[in-house]
């Protein structure tokens, strides 16, 4: 929807940066958020903008929103516009991996240069408070008994929520193509369906539902993170005996054909930003988890995620 540059925020932060230490790098960056205002990638881009400028790791940062098609519109524009440029970054994540496959997008993440993985949020599997299911084992037994009437609510088709629902169904020993997954826009409407008791279970980013989980309106059965997380009572699926892990990760990329020198400079700026106390404070406030990985590790990670997401999307009939 809205493509605009966050200007006033930038102007305001520029004033802060004026007071930043003299060692400040002279990077003048433009970060593409391949989504509209308010979404996860948009807030990731804007958070990066805020902290990079506040810590003096960049002189100025502009955020450009290019929404569309699970981020693939922004990716295509970025691949064409940022070729060889040392001052362009793109935010992306696991949803983009799925969208590239389901939309048959002309460009994929091998066309861009991974700089760093930034955050990784757990997904939560939850049921309405009135549900008879008390534990993950109850839900899995329910799936085995009647997969058709086990109705899931979550975000858009082929996204991370959908993939997790399919993985849980698969782990229950049922054909994942049979999962009855009802897609809603964003995290909002699926929450209403959960609270209204119209569905059996739901998947969402933990942060989006934590208010309802704390107030007892929803019962969290499991999280998809590999290890337990402090402050979250629900245990990982892995710890409950299901071999599933899925992290809603986000990272930054530079354009194609970036010189080694420019790449190293961007890596350093991002690494320094992520190590700063300001970043730690900010991701805490947003309810995100640090999932930093440097360029080389991130590149391998993307390859394995692409394989994994591709095969599960195939099994639920969204890709061929």
């Amino acid at each position: 929807m809205n493509k605009f540059v966050s200007g006033l925020g930038a102007a305001w932060l520029a004033a802060l940066v004026a007071a930043a230490p003299a060692s400040a790098q002279d990077l003048e960056l433009a970060i593409t958020a391949p989504a509209g205002a308010g979404g996860g990638w948009d807030s990731a881009a804007r958070s990066l903008q805020e902290v990079m400028m506040a810590t003096g790791n960049a002189k100025s940062v502009q955020v450009i929103n290019v929404p569309g098609a699970g981020g693939t519109v922004g990716l295509a524009q970025f691949v064409q516009g940022a070729d060889g440029k040392s001052d362009q970054l793109l935010v992306g994540g696991i949803t983009m991996v799925g969208a590239i496959i389901t939309n048959d997008a002309p460009y994929d993440l091998t066309n861009v240069t991974p700089i760093a993985r930034l955050t990784g949020d757990p997904l939560v599997v939850a049921v309405p408070a009135s549900s008879p299911y008390q534990t993950m084992a109850d839900l899995v037994a329910g799936i085995q008994k009647d997969v058709e009437h086990t109705i899931w609510a979550g975000g858009s088709a082929g996204g991370a929520d959908h993939i997790l629902a399919a993985l849980v169904t698969q782990a229950a020993g049922v054909d994942p193509a049979k999962v009855n997954y009802v897609a809603y826009s964003g995290g909002g409407e699926s929450l209403a369906a959960m609270l209204g008791g119209q569905v059996t279970a739901g998947v969402s980013g933990y942060g989006e539902w934590q208010g309802q989980i704390r107030s007892g309106d929803l019962r969290a059965l499991a999280i998809s993170y590999p290890e337990p997380i402090e402050g979250i009572a629900a245990q990982p699926l892995k710890a409950q005996g299901y071999d599933i892990e899925l992290v809603n990760w986000r990272g930054v990329f530079a354009g194609p054909n970036v010189s080694d020198d420019a790449k190293a400079k961007l890596e350093e700026a991002v690494a320094k930003t992520v190590a700063s106390p300001e970043w730690k404070e900010l991701i805490n406030a947003r309810g995100w988890s640090d999932y930093y990985a440097p360029s080389a590790e991130f590149t391998d990670f993307i390859a394995s995620e692409t394989d994994r997401v591709g095969s599960i999307l195939k099994s639920i009939g969204l890709a061929d």
Partner: protein
């Protein structure tokens, strides 16, 4: 009782001179940016939000409330004066409002919109303050089947905007429905009618269609007729203020519009458009002189504008009580709240009562400020119409295309805008109404996904639509509304035959 104390405390903060100034600035900025065609409330709030970060939490919350209501109100001005709705919720306002302006009654039209917005927002904000926790319990019970019933009613009511020929009205609606198919289907990820163009993947932007059909189409049509008419149609006749008759014709529509707008706005997938359609139809049915509709009936401005603003307050119900942003504007607002460490959700009212009631007080103050600042502006706005036609339409086209490329800077979007402009011209030339196309684009995709969600939950059994009392009732109403006119017509013809 505690809530009243908190509310009073909120008012005490909001009424400080400094904070009143912030409210005034917020309202002015919100209105000024919201007035631009193509820049809806979501973009307005997003653009202006960073300004508020500089202030202390109290002041910024107040300015924020001003921007929100200012942006919601701004769209009606261009809809009335220039037949250029800035956002989808103002499309209905343009129908009667612009007819009024063309008959020299732009002043009363703007005034009834401003006062109606004020009344609606006042009542709806009070509703938000006192009934939000109850209302939200009902709202989440609204299932996909119920939404589908509501959509059906909305579809039937569209026929009120059809004009003289049902074939032309239905054709316009059909074009809107067709455009609504374009893009990636949310439920299955299947792409429809995008022909591999990435910019089409997310579907057709409603504002692009509305601005194209209304603003560009109107300009092309007016220029095609300009040489043959010696009229200066937009002069001001009579008082620019509302007459006694205008008042007596407006106050009921304001209240009815509020009654429709607030609860539908509070539904998680309700939106601001459907209440405006429903309100328009209702006023048309209830009007003492229904023949005036289509020629500048003030009820047709008063009702939908009230409904629009009441739904804006309604949107805050799921946002504050569930943390659930139900519109693009609300999503931007949510980001704004988080800046003040205000995490909307079920515990918000319990954990941060002072902030919540401070916000409610701010909304009241912003609303009053909106009226105080905008009523005197009516005289100024109406003078816009005195600009000579060549410059007026030159300006309209520049602002309309600017709004579209600013919101979405791509050549494809601009080409679509121009294409819709020519479509609007052809439709006007051959007497096809343009509003049903916009309505089709809004309602079509909503009805499609809600129906399919309902059928997915019932494993394909259509009876689910009749098993739930809410949806069964609404579908019943829709069917009645559809066949009643034919029945009555048949009946009266039958009687005539007997004579």
């Amino acid at each position: 009782m505690d809530s009243i104390l908190y509310l009073l405390g909120g008012f005490a903060t909001a009424l400080e001179p400094m904070n009143l100034t912030f409210a005034a600035i917020g309202v002015m900025l919100g209105t000024a940016v919201g007035v631009l065609p193509g820049i809806g409330p979501a973009l307005t709030v997003a653009l202006l939000l960073p300004i508020t970060f500089k202030l202390d939490p109290g002041g910024s919350l107040i300015m924020f409330a001003g921007i929100y209501y200012g942006g919601m109100y701004g769209g009606s001005t261009t809809a009335i004066l220039l037949n250029t709705p800035g956002e989808s919720a103002s499309v209905v306002t343009a129908l009667e409002g612009n007819q009024m302006a063309k008959r020299g009654r732009g002043g009363p039209a703007l005034a009834t919109a401003a006062i109606g917005s004020f009344v609606a927002a006042l009542i709806a904000t009070a509703g938000l303050a006192f009934f939000a926790p109850i209302l939200v319990k009902l709202a989440v019970k609204f299932g996909p089947w119920d939404y589908f019933g509501l959509m059906l009613i909305a579809f039937i009511t569209v026929s009120a905007t059809f004009g003289s020929s049902p074939l032309r009205g239905l054709t316009s609606l059909g074009i809107g429905l067709w455009l609504g198919l374009v893009g990636i289907d949310q439920l299955t990820g299947q792409t429809r009618l995008a022909f591999g163009v990435p910019n089409l993947m997310d579907g057709i932007e409603v504002t692009t269609l509305a601005v194209g059909l209304f603003a560009l189409g109107e300009a092309l049509f007016v220029v095609s007729r300009h040489a043959f008419s010696d009229d200066a149609p937009m002069a001001i006749k009579g008082s620019i203020w509302m007459s006694r008759e205008d008042w007596s014709r407006s106050w009921r529509p304001w209240l009815r519009g509020t009654a429709v707008g607030f609860p539908i706005g509070a539904l998680p997938a309700g939106g601001a458009e459907i209440p405006t359609f429903l309100s328009y139809t209702m006023e048309r049915k209830l009007a003492k002189r229904p023949e005036e509709f289509g020629h500048g009936a003030i009820e047709g401005v008063a009702g939908p504008e009230a409904a629009n603003n009441a739904s804006a307050a309604g949107t805050l119900v799921p946002l504050l009580t569930l943390g659930l942003p139900t519109s693009a504007t609300a999503a931007v607002m949510l980001a704004g709240f988080q800046q003040y460490n205000l995490q909307p959700g079920p515990l918000l009212f319990v954990q941060h009562p002072a902030l919540v009631w401070g916000l409610v007080a701010s909304l009241f103050i912003a609303n009053v400020m909106l009226l105080v600042l905008n009523l005197p502006m009516v005289g100024l706005w109406v003078k816009l119409l005195k600009i000579p036609l060549p410059w007026l339409y030159g300006g309209i086209l520049v602002f309309a295309s600017m709004g579209t490329i600013a919101a979405n800077p791509s050549v494809v979007e601009l080409l679509m805008l121009v294409g819709f402009g020519f479509l609007g011209f052809v439709m006007r030339r051959y007497d096809y109404p343009v509003a049903p196309a916009v309505v089709g684009l809004i309602l079509g995709p909503m009805a499609d996904s809600q129906l399919r969600r309902a059928l997915q939950m019932s494993l394909g059994d259509p009876m689910i639509l009749l098993q739930h009392p809410g949806s069964a009732t609404m579908i019943g109403i829709a069917v009645l509304a559809l066949i009643a006119p034919f029945l009555f017509k048949g009946l009266s013809r039958f009687r005539q035959d007997e004579d």
